[in-house]
Symmetry: D2
Subunit: 361 residues, 4 copies
């Protein structure tokens, strides 16, 4: 099988680097184009990038020449790690026929953009058809993934939809990698907590409602729930922890909730996609888990871990949940989204071999 050529927008940033790291040796996709700022354009990626992840730039990408943001791209599939204010280029790329899987927040809440989380709302992929019709796209589209802090909230609440989620209150402890690089200054965060993360509280009170919503023809009906969020930055490298209180319409036992989490699987063909974890959600029985450093890499960073489920005297139930913010909460989720698009035939002629076999086409 020939791998599909992939371009990365915002390739020199922290999330762009995570895309490149996760796509090294990917069975279906191969990074062939890296797009950066005008300052970097025309020079080898390996020289221009300040690699902030562990280890070094993968050799397969180090030699690629950085393209400028207005260069035409050859890759059918584009991953975007652009900041919000640069993300308007994404619809232009979609218009030019590219499938854009984006981590940027700009278009997440647009009615015709799927805010896709394969295990949770794979059927929202149908919004692509509306998007193409409305915007005159043919082979292209923009598919978004959620805010990184919304991720553990949605992964924890999705298995509870059957109990009727009517209210949730979230307090977050967010890792510094969520702010990109250079992002949070060490003078701001060593021996400190910052009780504010610009923009994230709004996202936590809205994005989950769309993600957990029900597809209704070619639109999504929002989940009818009331939400409240308070966001905090903490001196942790990776892993967003959320402390959640939730009201459920039915009154499940604690054991029923734990079973709902541990047995949660995405719909066919999601569990067999290359980046899908064995368990999307895993309940940890220890009294003091999940912990960011110890649990963020569960399922290669794609499993959301949950712990401390107990009664909340005010809202009914409370617990803590954790997702790796730059893997499950950003690049890893975008890649899983693209795998779903490939498996469902949204990437033109490209048909992944293992998906054909796995999915029984």
């Amino acid at each position: 099988m020939q791998k599909l050529s992939v371009a990365i927008l915002g390739a020199t940033g922290a999330v762009g680097q995570r895309f490149i790291e996760l796509l090294e040796n990917h069975p279906w996709f191969e990074v062939k184009e890296v797009v950066g700022s005008s300052r970097s354009a025309g020079r080898p990626y390996g020289e221009m990038v300040n690699w902030v992840l562990d280890g070094s730039v993968p050799d397969s990408v180090a030699g690629l020449t950085v393209k400028s943001s207005d260069a035409a791209l050859d890759s059918p599939l584009v991953f975007s790690a652009l900041p919000k204010d640069a993300a308007q280029v994404e619809f232009e790329l979609a218009a030019a026929g590219h499938m854009v899987c984006t981590n940027a927040s700009l278009n997440r809440m647009a009615e015709d953009v799927p805010l896709l989380l394969p295990e949770v709302n794979a059927d929202h992929i149908a919004l692509i058809d509306a998007q193409r019709r409305k915007r005159g796209f043919t082979t292209g589209a923009v598919v978004a993934n959620s805010n990184c802090t919304a991720m553990p909230v949605v992964m924890a609440l999705a298995p509870l939809r059957k109990f009727g989620v009517s209210k949730y209150l979230v307090v977050s402890a967010q890792a510094t990698s969520g702010a990109g690089y250079p992002g949070v200054a060490s003078l701001d965060i060593l021996d400190n907590i910052i009780p504010y993360v610009s923009g994230d509280e709004d996202k936590l009170e809205t994005e989950p409602l769309k993600m957990l919503g029900r597809l209704n023809g070619e639109r999504v009906d929002m989940l009818n729930a009331v939400a409240s969020a308070s966001c905090n930055r903490v001196p942790v490298i990776d892993g967003h922890l959320v402390v959640v209180s939730v009201s459920l319409d039915t009154a499940p036992d604690l054991d029923e909730i734990i079973t709902a989490w541990d047995s949660f699987r995405g719909p066919h063909p999601v569990p067999s996609l290359p980046s899908a974890p064995e368990q999307p959600v895993r309940y940890l029985p220890q009294i003091d888990r999940p912990q960011p450093r110890r649990d963020r890499s569960t399922g290669r960073g794609m499993t959301t871990t949950i712990g401390r489920l107990r009664r909340c005297p005010l809202l009914g139930y409370k617990f803590a949940a954790l997702s790796h913010n730059t893997i499950r909460g950003a690049a890893g989720c975008s890649i899983l989204n693209a795998e779903l698009l490939a498996a469902q035939g949204y990437l033109g002629d490209f048909r992944p071999v293992s998906a054909q076999m796995a999915f029984g086409d």
Copy 2:
């Protein structure tokens, strides 16, 4: 004025050290006795203590010989930094005539023990009379201060009592000094959060109700409110941050709440006590405050700082509050309690000169 002799129980521990640091150069009290474990007894304090605070052991205390826990004490006033399971000795000391101001949790909720916070419930001091009668004490008594994480909650809610506090939900980010020394292992907390602090959630759901309760003859009627708490340990040295959502019976404007905080003062004679801060509660207008490292020392560690007041879609209002956990939340509060006892004539013949003047006896 002759200073009053003071003894410290648990003097070699982290809170014991904070007592000694704060009492250096205290205008009324002087540390004359330090009580420690049998391992330390009989040796100079300066040799036995592993001083974990900044700087070094104050010279005035370094030369004191550590007394064992069963030694008779001469000091009328005793500060206790004992762990919970050692705190049963406190009533024995009270029976022997000592006024014991304790930071231990053992007796906080006993009906006849005041859980004293001078600015908030100075009148609860009247429980001492009931305690003495019931237990046959003459000059002695046990007076407790609250859990260190309950402190910022109570300081923030006390000025709001007039609006009718009916519900509060707290998520904490607690400094490692709250666990004493050696306490939290560095392997547990570097690049990490622990979403569990043994015992503290119960305390946060009960102690504030007593502290905010109303004195009714010689007992306290608990505040009639429902509470929910989730406690977390974070890689911060000092300063407990709480994120609070609260329901108020009346519907004050945000400005009214801020005014209630900034104008909050304790009753006479509390504001003139040596350890009382100018402002017990101070609202910070910046969008990203309070922060533990930058705000914990406000008012020499005795001021609770609050920020980010805004509407909570679920409970009505939300905000963040911060108290220095080993000063306002432990040793500093105990000392302020003792100052109030002195000013009110509960320390036998001892009459502080400045209090006489200030309080106009």
Copy 3:
């Protein structure tokens, strides 16, 4: 091939846990016995251990019953993660026929105990014969690995032996995991450096001299060099960084030194052992490397990374070197030592299949 049964002494400690983690899915060895304190003995390992590494206890070990330290062991191969003062049991186990690969410091400098580092001094294995003869052992022996901070020093200096190492000065920045668990208190190390690590300076000034020494019959002639060490604890989880100045008898160019490092390989059959990294030493060209968090996992934690080679106005050359202290500097090195013993026929009848093939027996 049937795997060889292995016992772990000190199995519940931090290094013991690292042995268990690294031996999960090992091609030759299988953990069948775990030995702990009397408090743990008789109970399932998974219940007794406070797992401080990432993730959870491997299932294959969680169900093993912890044995007490005086129980007879069945495993021919024993890994010891005992503290120094408990390590006297190791010679008793050797007398009983066990091959003991130990991380404890007690016997490292004993004349008949090889301080083994396969890439550097595989021939020192011959000390086993002297040890067996001297102590009356038959199939057993004690084989030590070095202090974890000595590791990056020795790995960096070994390839330079051909230039004549006459002096080295080391200043370390040691991770907290080097002190075990609970080890370093968070109150001691957050926002702090401790310029002292008990015992390590002596080890850094002596152990490398033995490890870099020359086998002379059945003894080792120490390297004739003068050393000075200053050890510091830093707020880093894993990875010991050393800043080294060194005097070399010949005057190699910087490039010659870098080539010596990058081309360094252990003698046959070391490079083909399962735990051997592709490159034991790797020079990083970036100006600000190696860094503990980013480089400690190079070669699955078995590669020592070096950077910043430049002239030292005082000693000739200077550079920084980094080894993962609980992998290459402890458990990983012990396992590599055991693999060498297996390949060389020191583990009784056990003959690893891949080694037979690889080593061409």
Copy 4:
């Protein structure tokens, strides 16, 4: 006494803020002008500054209007917290009659600029006369203070000059505040060490030689010593720790060295200047000190603490030393320099009252 009006260059940066904090309530000087970037100019300091120190902007400065860098200044005394590449303006200000006490590195090694450290080389102030003659200045001059990491080295070596300092080797552990704000990204330093600080190794190998040099007419003869430095950034907020090995021509006992440190005082009138600490250098007898968090505030951040003196097998002696990098190593030292200039009559007509008394004019 009327206070002297003072201007701060680079007032919104981290060192600029430290100047403002330290000058609040200064007995002689009063901040009347704050100079910032063109972005800030014309607006109130309190609105433009992102205050990164503890607490909040002092009220006395918050209302000052920020001046642009080309505005004429009224203050006779100017403190400069400019970055190196902006510091060329300093000589222009000196030409215009201002006394400029600068923390910038640009002009430190200029032959006619005193690299002033009052306790160590107060007589170097005589270079001002050469500077004025050579450059045609009348009342103005530029006076520099040293690199913040050179500070603990010089403070430790100055008392040892009488033993003949011929070699020193320094390895530093530098706090992140040394890089200004935003400075070091949290993603670079949490759970990490960076073994490189741009430019500092050169400064450590040269600036101390000038500072410890001997005034010879109107020039300074450098100390004749060979130096080697390796610089590292560590996750510490404030306080630069240096690990030093030193060769001394005579062979003092360890006790003689400790006595030299503890008895070290600056020449008249330095000890009586307002910012001078009681002890410029203090030896700590504990085995594990000095530590940045616990010892950086000794002497209000102006005392250099030293510990762990012992023999170095290679260079003779070794020890660890610590200075608060933004107080003693930057703003605090500049202020002490200005106090010396005032006391010696270099600030025009200004005569500090307390200095007159103290200095017996």
